[in-house]
Amino acid sequence: MKNLTYKKAFSDLEKLVDQIEDDEIQLDTLADKVKQANELIKFCETNLRSIEKDVEVAMGEGKKGRKKG
């Protein structure tokens, strides 16, 4: 997942959820797909938190934002 982008991860997640929701899915592959989906969700959540923090710092809104000179 090193070079994975948020966009790619989210798009993979969408596809996975579609597959998981497919009535034809075999139960033994379901667990595997759910595991993958949860990994992607975790990646997206971490990534989103990091983006949010970076943006806050860039916009000078973070707790450790640059003070006015």
Binding site: Y6, E21, M59
Partner: protein, 384 residues
């Protein structure tokens, strides 16, 4: 020896003759004035009226304003915005006076400044026409304003470096600097003063010289400001000069004028960007910079808002997918009381593959039940 008479007798006769001819009469004359000497404290003004043929003076007579008519000089200066000084041609009402000791002179009773204004207007009109005729880049707009290279030049979005043309220690310089230096926004400016005389006969030429110095300067100025302070100053002559107007109109750096008069617009103003006073020019500069900062702040706000929306949107989407995955997670299903049956370590999907007495594993949420199949029959009760 010729017969003589006393001086006083002759002068008395002159006096009598003049009185006889001129007493009680006044005359309107038009003449150039020269040798103007004002005694402001006494409210007197001594001068001479002259008439020329070419450059030679052909007629000359002394004249005087006494205190009771001195107000006309002040009104003239106020109305025409020019100093009552040598070289002007005026129309005025006079009375012939003769004093046995001080001789003949004209006492000025009134000035017709409508004539002076008319003359100034005509000169102004002629200069404007000449500017249009000789400089194709200067254009008269339908609004009555003039479009020049200078006032068409785009003002910088942020003004930082200013060349200030002003008289040394003048009110204009002080008023301008006061607003610029102590501005509430804390903006810092680099302002270089180019000091010169801004009124009087040579002023227009001296201002042109300062403009040339600015053009040759290594500093790249964002704008040039020409200010002149004090509402009482009345001499606009230098700012109506053809050469100065032309120099301003063609000058590449935007020029802002604040030459301190509410009512009048000089030709220099028309060629540049006019503001009424030095304070107004300074305020305009601050406003220009503030507009820039305000727009930046607005953009930042919009950006911040948009980022929040994007992040919140992404969070919601993620939450939604997380819930969907959770709902389909076998663990969730098991929690609800469902079970998964394994036979030979494979999930049983088709029960046909299971025979009686076969060993199966039933996976519950927390336990695995090992059992033997005793009976298989069709499920007919559970109708979902």
């Amino acid at each position: 020896m010729p017969q003589t008479q006393k001086l006083s007798e002759l002068v008395n006769e002159i006096d009598a003759t003049l009185r006889n001819r001129f007493d009680g009469r006044t005359f309107w004359i038009k003449a150039e004035i020269t040798d103007v000497k004002k005694y402001i404290d006494k409210r007197w003004c001594f001068l001479k009226f002259i008439e020329k043929s070419g450059s030679a003076i052909t007629t000359e007579i002394k004249a005087v304003f006494w205190a009771n008519s001195y107000i006309h000089i002040q009104n003239f200066e106020k109305e025409t915005q020019q100093t009552f000084a040598s070289g002007l041609e005026i129309t005025c009402n006079v009375r012939v006076r003769f004093h046995k000791r001080f001789g003949l002179d004209l006492e000025v009773l009134e000035i017709d400044f409508a004539y002076a204004i008319g003359k100034l207007e005509l000169e102004r009109k002629q200069i404007l026409e000449r500017l249009l005729k000789e400089n194709p880049s200067i254009k008269l707009l339908e609004s009555g304003n003039y479009s020049t290279n200078n006032n068409r030049a785009i003002l910088p979005t942020v003004i930082q470096t200013i060349a200030l043309i002003t008289a040394p220690n003048s009110d204009g310089q002080r008023d301008f600097n006061k607003v610029i230096e102590k501005n509430k926004y804390g903006y810092a400016f680099v302002a270089h003063s180019f000091l010169t005389q801004v009124q009087g006969d040579n002023a227009s030429q001296l201002i042109i010289e300062q403009l040339k110095l600015i053009e040759a300067s290594k500093t790249k100025f964002d704008i040039i400001v020409i200010v002149r302070g004090g509402g009482s100053d009345i001499d606009f002559k230098s700012f109506n000069d053809y050469e100065l107007a032309k120099c301003i109109a063609l000058f590449p750096v935007p020029i802002l004028t604040g030459i301190g008069h509410d009512r009048n617009t000089s030709i220099a103003d028309l060629m540049a960007r006019q503001h009424k006073t030095p304070t107004e020019v300074a305020s305009f500069i601050l406003d220009t910079n503030y507009n820039f900062e305000y727009n930046i702040l607005l953009l930042k706000q919009k950006l911040s808002q948009r980022i929040k929306e994007l992040i919140e949107g992404a969070k919601d989407d993620l939450k939604h997918y997380k819930q969907r995955v959770k709902n389909l997670n076998p663990t969730t299903i098991l929690k609800k009381g469902f079970a998964i049956i394994y036979s030979d370590d494979k999930i049983v999907i088709d029960p046909k593959n299971i025979k009686n007495n076969a060993e199966v594993k039933t996976l519950l949420q927390n336990e695995m039940i090992y059992s033997k199949v005793s009976k298989i029959e069709k499920n007919e009760k559970l109708d979902l």
